[in-house]
């Protein structure tokens, strides 16, 4: 988009960090294949790639979490060994993790003190320093607050402040915006640009193409563990970046025509659903109401941790609602019906957690077909498993959804994220549900599989089923959903047709600026 300062790549100064021919092999895969990379002072450098391209491995090597098999790391022009993260921090490398590494029951200052080995969070000097840094950079933060009370955006600020306390000259950020609302993203970018202008280097890892074009000065693209391209992202289009990332022209999901939804009894009607969270740090639901009609895709947007998990459990029947008539399916009250009963009625469910919720990691695909398909596919006779039939069903799903695996005997854990997700979505769709509820259906899935999954959802809705998609990814919701509502702090906004609203408007709602639906 813009850049006031151009990257300082004067040829006589050595790069801040230079990676030369870094190679790391894991059993069964070459995660990094002779990766070379230069990071100059005062630049925001994007590391772009699909899941499994080797980004995380490279960052772990750089931060001393893993050792490389071969290759050289040069810091300010001299070769260094980074055996562990504290060595990395001593050099001046800071890291902001994608999954926050904070103790939820401790205060902000305690968390900072623990990471820096500085006694307790009651030290007044430490408190003052945190306050000074956070006001300096516009990262509003009260160091005495307990972390579990903080929003996701605030938690990220804790991570950033904790990282800045060590005055790093290279900051590695792993997918920092995946949990933020659009306005929080804008604030984060302001901070990052400021840090760059101070001469710090930022290695920014992401697969969100628009962000990279807005923020970064240079981009290095990894594919299959190799550096495949290096470019100025501001000169590229999202499509050209995507093509570099996945290695071929990028096909988005097939866009469907607007639906004709029926006027009769809604397929799913949630009316005034309130429910306690089942964990102290979960979010309880407050008077949630919405309806889904046959033939439409209903999107529920929201930043993670705003009650999605409780809502999903209440919809799937894994937790039953306090009152039967708070959830209705085809006009019948099902609030007190369990997961098994709902599936028998034709409600299918794709959980957010693929491995360990939607599938049993250690069991083969044929057993995972049995897991949710036993009832609707009739895979159990007189208490015994119909082995041949469940193998056949798994086979059908693998074939229909192009699941790359070694066959029906492959353990679920041996599949890549995208392929396992295709298997799970396929398994649910091939049970011919009347209503499919999918949580984060393409989260962490490679672009090719994501497009296939989104197309399958659209096709299912066009064939007359109702689909509910809960997602943090606004692009996804605007691509596939017909209507969208936002969940914030356990309450749901009124829904709007996606063609009559914009991502910016929904982004505002994600920050909680809405009236609760009546």
């Amino acid at each position: 988009m813009h850049s006031e300062t151009s990257p300082l790549t004067a040829s006589n100064t050595p790069p801040r960090l230079r990676l030369r021919e870094i190679t790391k092999r894991f059993p069964g895969c070459l995660a990094n294949d002779a990766v070379s990379l230069d990071l100059a002072p005062g630049e925001i450098h994007a590391l772009l790639g699909e899941n499994g391209a080797g980004k995380s491995t490279l960052v772990k090597i750089l931060y001393g979490v893993q050792g490389a098999d071969s290759g050289v790391i040069e810091w300010e022009g001299r070769a260094v060994d980074i055996p562990n993260p504290s060595a990395a921090r001593a050099l001046g490398i800071g890291m902001v993790f994608q999954h926050f590494s904070l103790f939820e029951t401790l205060s902000v200052a305690d968390n900072v003190a623990l990471a820096m080995d500085r006694g307790t969070g009651r030290d007044p000097a430490l408190l003052a320093e945190i306050r000074r840094l956070s006001t300096d950079y516009g990262l509003a933060l009260d160091p005495t607050r307990i972390v579990h009370e903080l929003s996701v955006g605030e938690r990220q600020r804790v991570e950033i402040v904790r990282c800045l306390m060590q005055n790093p000259s290279l900051i590695v950020m792993d997918e920092p915006t995946s949990v933020l609302t659009p306005s929080e993203v804008e604030k984060l970018f302001t901070v990052l640009r400021r840090l760059r202008d101070e001469g710090r280097t930022i290695l920014y890892i992401s697969h969100k193409l628009q962000e990279i074009r807005d923020l970064c000065d240079r981009a290095t693209i990894l594919r299959g563990g190799k550096v495949v391209a290096s470019c100025d992202p501001r000169q590229e289009t999202p499509n050209s970046l995507a093509a570099l990332m996945i290695g071929r022209a990028f096909d988005g999901p097939k866009a469907g025509k607007p639906v004709q939804v029926g006027d009769g009894v809604p397929l799913l009607a949630v009316q005034g659903l309130s429910m306690e969270a089942d964990s102290p740090f979960g979010t309880s639901l407050k008077n949630i109401s919405f309806t889904v009609r046959a033939g439409e895709i209903f999107g529920i947007a929201g930043v993670a941790g705003n009650g999605q998990n409780t809502l999903l459990a209440a919809l799937s029947g894994e937790r039953t609602a306090p009152r039967d008539d708070w959830v209705k399916f085809e006009g019948h009250s099902i609030g007190r019906v369990g997961a098994r009963g709902r599936r028998d009625m034709g409600i299918s469910f794709v959980p957010e957690e693929r491995l360990g919720h939607g599938s049993v990691p250690d069991l083969p695909l044929e057993d995972n077909a049995l897991l949710s398909g036993w009832g609707r596919w009739g895979l159990v006779r007189h208490g015994l498993i119909a082995r041949g039939k469940s193998r056949q069903k798994a086979e059908d799903v693998i074939e229909a959804f192009n699941v790359v695996s070694t066959g029906t005997g492959a353990a679920a854990r041996s599949l890549s994220g995208g392929n396992l997700q295709k298997f799970i979505i396929g398994r649910e769709i091939m049970q011919e549900p009347k209503l499919l509820i999918a949580a984060q259906p393409t989260w962490g899935v490679d672009a090719g599989s994501a497009a296939a999954i989104q197309s399958a959802l659209i096709e299912l809705a066009r064939a007359g089923a109702g689909v509910v998609v809960v997602s943090q990814d606004l692009d996804e919701l605007f691509t596939i959903a017909d209507r969208v509502a936002v969940i914030f702090d356990g309450a749901l906004s009124e829904s709007r047709p996606t063609h009559a609203t914009s991502a910016e408007d929904v982004g505002l709602l994600m920050g909680g600026l809405f009236e609760v639906a009546p």
């Binding site: 071969s70 060994d81 250690d362 015994l384 498993i385």
Partner: protein, 356 residues
């Protein structure tokens, strides 16, 4: 530098090789132990592991000890597969002995061929009722079944002591704390002349076959597996966790009770304050040594039975203390758990790290 590295897939080879490795390490450590104690290790190990197997009487004894171990361990393994930790099989065995033995006393002098089967069923009911207590407390109040079932073991032991020193004491027993000997018709028939092997062993074999079928082919077996491996996936599939807890606890309790009834109607023939040399606890080792697999459990039960009679034979032949039995059993479990790491990890020798 030696490093442990996670395997991409669990190793099928080591899954079955580690029990053998554990046995070998136990024997080697045993040899060292005997040497330190001043015995010839070869002679001691022979007395321990080989002598008991030399005649048909010894082999019969082996099956007598293996029978309760295998039956109890099968029940426990079904629960362990579902992460239901019944540690109180010893108490359920005691209850099975009380109910089974109680029937023998009730029908004393009026026995018929119907009585032994009735006693076995009664024993199963007794064990199941005892296991129903932790099942109820776990499903209703989320009370930990490990603690509840373990503590109930001591309650069962005291109940048995009360019965054999009080109301059920043999009137002709010179005040010894035990019941009268059961009538001939209340005892399990033996199978061969010259051996005490009785019909309990075929029952154990049938239990093994039944459990194999349950685990491999039945839908309830599949549910148990899913609940044990991945509880959230079981909730997603709509499997009822409470039902699995009830089913597995009742099943393991009934089998422990069966073992108790077999003990008192087989080799013992009366109720005494101590009817089991800790079969209910040893069966936990048997279940893990057998990899929670029915056939593995059968082999492990034979091995453990050998450690019991081997201990007795070493005591007789060499004057070794009987506590050696416990030491061997403990070492076996210790080595098994320690070598289990090889199933999920492999050892890599890295000479030096390349300059990075």
């Amino acid at each position: 530098m030696i490093a442990l590295e996670r395997r991409p897939n669990t190793s099928r080879f080591w899954l079955y090789a580690t029990p053998l490795l554990a046995v070998i390490l136990t024997v080697l450590s045993g040899a060292i132990l005997f040497t330190v104690l001043g015995f010839d290790p070869i002679e001691a190990l022979t007395a321990y592991f080989i002598s008991p197997l030399r005649d048909s009487y010894g082999l019969g004894e082996l099956t007598i000890k293996a029978t309760p171990l295998a039956i109890i361990a099968i029940g426990l393994a079904i629960g362990f597969r579902a992460n239901v930790w019944n540690i109180g099989a010893e108490g359920q065995l005691t209850l099975g002995a009380i109910t089974g033995g109680g029937l023998a006393l009730l029908f004393y002098g009026a026995e018929g061929p119907w009585l032994p089967p009735l006693m076995l069923v009664g024993g199963m009911l007794g064990g199941a009722v005892w296991a129903a207590i932790p099942a109820f407390l776990r499903t209703r109040f989320n009370a930990n079944e490990i603690l509840v079932s373990l503590m109930l073991t001591y309650v069962a032991g005291l109940l048995l002591s009360y019965l054999v020193t009080g109301p059920w004491k043999d009137p002709m027993g010179f005040g010894f704390p035990r019941t009268r000997m059961f009538g001939e018709g209340a005892l399990l028939p033996t199978l061969f002349a010259g051996s005490r092997m009785h019909i309990g062993f075929p029952i154990a074999l049938a239990t093994v076959a039944g459990a194999w079928f349950l685990i491999a082919r039945s839908f309830i077996g599949f549910q148990i597996k899913v609940v044990g491996l991945t509880p959230p996936a079981a909730g997603y599939a709509g499997f009822s966790n409470k039902r699995i807890i009830w089913a597995t606890l009742l099943c393991s309790g009934a089998l422990a009770g069966l073992a108790g009834a077999i003990e008192v109607s087989g080799p013992i023939g009366q109720l005494t304050p101590s009817i089991s040399p800790g079969y209910g606890f040893t069966a936990i080792i048997v279940a893990f040594l057998g990899r929670l697999h029915p056939l593995g459990i059968l082999c492990a039960a034979m091995l453990m039975a050998l450690s019991y009679i081997g201990g007795e034979s070493a005591q007789i032949e060499l004057g070794l203390p009987l506590a050696v039995t416990g030491v061997f059993q403990g070492m076996l479990l210790f080595f098994l758990l320690a070598s289990d790491v090889l199933v999920h990890y492999r050892i890599r020798l890295r000479l030096t790290r390349e300059a990075v």
